[in-house]
């Protein structure tokens, strides 16, 4: 989701000027997205250029007030019902690190799993603390925290699976490289 879609979604609820759009978008996303006001204005200009919004000077305070057009409304609808393509979202750093540990033979992949698990568990603990402290009224924030919690949990489950499968393999097979290939290690850390 870009700022473009975010602003259009807020404008569908009603006309607003730039600063109000910024604060409403932030609050609608549980304040997980801090928006730059300069970017809001340049994005609004582009949306106007493309015919998704119209602007007019407010007769009360002279500020520019934006209105979504029918085209803009249709754009929001299309965007919302288009599923996110997870396959296109790119490489996953953690799985790559585990796979590279197996290929390079530099570090026991179990050690990589163990280190990552400790770090992800701390994160899951922190998310859970935030969730326990979250106010019942802040619905968007709670939903977002649930999302983060489920992701961290899924990662821990996967690491658990990796460890179990590594344990089930004979030790020599846990790393795929032979001794001689391991002399020039692949750089894994960034």
């Amino acid at each position: 989701m870009g700022l473009r879609e975010g602003l259009l979604c807020i404008l569908v609820r009603g006309d607003a000027h730039g600063y109000r759009l910024k604060s409403e978008l932030e609050s609608a996303t549980g304040d997980t997205w801090q928006v730059n006001i300069g970017q809001v204005y340049t994005t609004l200009q582009r949306l106007e250029r493309d015919g998704f919004v119209e602007s007019a000077e407010s007769n009360t305070d002279g500020r520019i007030v934006y209105t979504v057009t029918d085209l803009g409304r249709e754009e929001v609808r299309q965007w919302l019902v288009t599923p996110v393509d997870l396959a296109a979202s790119g490489r996953d750093e953690i799985s790559l690190k585990v796979l590279m540990a197996m290929v390079s033979g530099v570090s026991d992949p179990r050690r990589v799993v163990e280190k990552q698990r400790g770090s992800t568990m701390t994160l899951l603990q922190d998310y859970t603390t935030l969730k326990a402290d979250a106010s019942d009224e802040d619905f968007a924030w709670q939903l977002y925290l649930d999302r983060l919690i489920f992701s961290a949990e899924a990662e821990l489950r996967w690491l658990e699976r990796v460890e179990a499968r590594l344990d089930a393999k004979p030790h020599s097979e846990a790393t795929e490289s032979s001794e001689s290939e391991a002399t020039e290690p692949v750089e894994v850390n960034r």
Binding site: W33, D126, E160
Partner: protein
């Protein structure tokens, strides 16, 4: 400085001998401070329940020492150990283990009465303990009139009644659905925030995450400990 309410010092447990020798626990060092919720995780057979049994004086370590409320368990007689189990530590299991013919309050007060407390005093403590787990209005209900989550709340109230301040919980959410499990974890968290201490054995990462520290066991050894960040994340960290 506050003293730990429970300490394990180089605790080991070995079953069998010779070729049949199994090290169930090896050199476990663990402190539980008042107000702390500590989770113990690990795969089946990693030693989680053995560790809990040592902490609750239900089993004796082969090596090392367990200290509960300032007393080294190895130095205590059977009678004194039974006293520790009554006044210092409470257990909560996956199965709630409430007696079906007794009300919620009686399930909590009976052990106190058997311990010599007068019925009035025991009833008062039971009622207070039920209020602390938000079950104040259900003191006179029987277990079969309570939901699974409510029964587990009663079990927690029983575990932390009166002078008891250490709760040992072995997969306490095992028989409950997700929403009820979460409410039980929230309850454990709030009882610890109010000063109790709990050791929670669970294989669910999401439940372990309610703890201040998560101890991970592997083959009877502590593989790693994850701690909550002391300065919690803010919304800005997540954007």
């Amino acid at each position: 400085m506050t003293e730990p309410i429970l300490s394990m010092r180089r605790v080991g447990k070995t079953h069998g001998s010779g070729a049949q020798r199994v090290d169930a626990l090896v050199n476990i060092d663990l402190d539980l401070m008042p107000g702390e919720l500590v989770a113990v995780t690990g795969r089946s057979g990693s030693g989680k329940t053995t560790l809990l049994n040592m902490a609750g004086a239900l089993d004796e370590p082969t090596t090392g020492e367990v200290i509960v409320a300032g007393e080294s368990l190895a130095t205590l007689s059977k009678i004194e150990l039974a006293r520790i189990r009554r006044v210092a530590v409470g257990y909560v299991f996956q199965q709630f283990n409430l007696l079906p013919s007794l009300t919620a309050a009686e399930n909590i007060s009976l052990p106190l009465e058997l311990d010599g407390m007068k019925p009035d005093g025991a009833r008062k403590l039971a009622e207070r303990s039920l209020e602390e787990v938000e079950m104040g209005g259900m003191a006179d209900r029987y277990p079969d009139q309570l939901s699974g989550g409510e029964q587990q709340r009663v079990a927690i109230a029983r575990g932390l009644v009166g002078p008891r301040s250490v709760l040992l919980a072995d997969e306490p959410t095992g028989a409950l659905d997700e929403a009820t499990s979460e409410s039980i974890l929230k309850l454990l968290r709030s009882r610890c925030d109010a000063g109790a201490a709990a050791l929670l054995v669970t294989h669910e990462p999401a439940y372990a995450a309610w703890a201040d520290r998560v101890v991970r066991l592997r083959d009877g050894r502590i593989e790693g400990i994850s701690e909550r960040t002391k300065t919690p994340l803010t919304t800005a960290d997540l954007s």
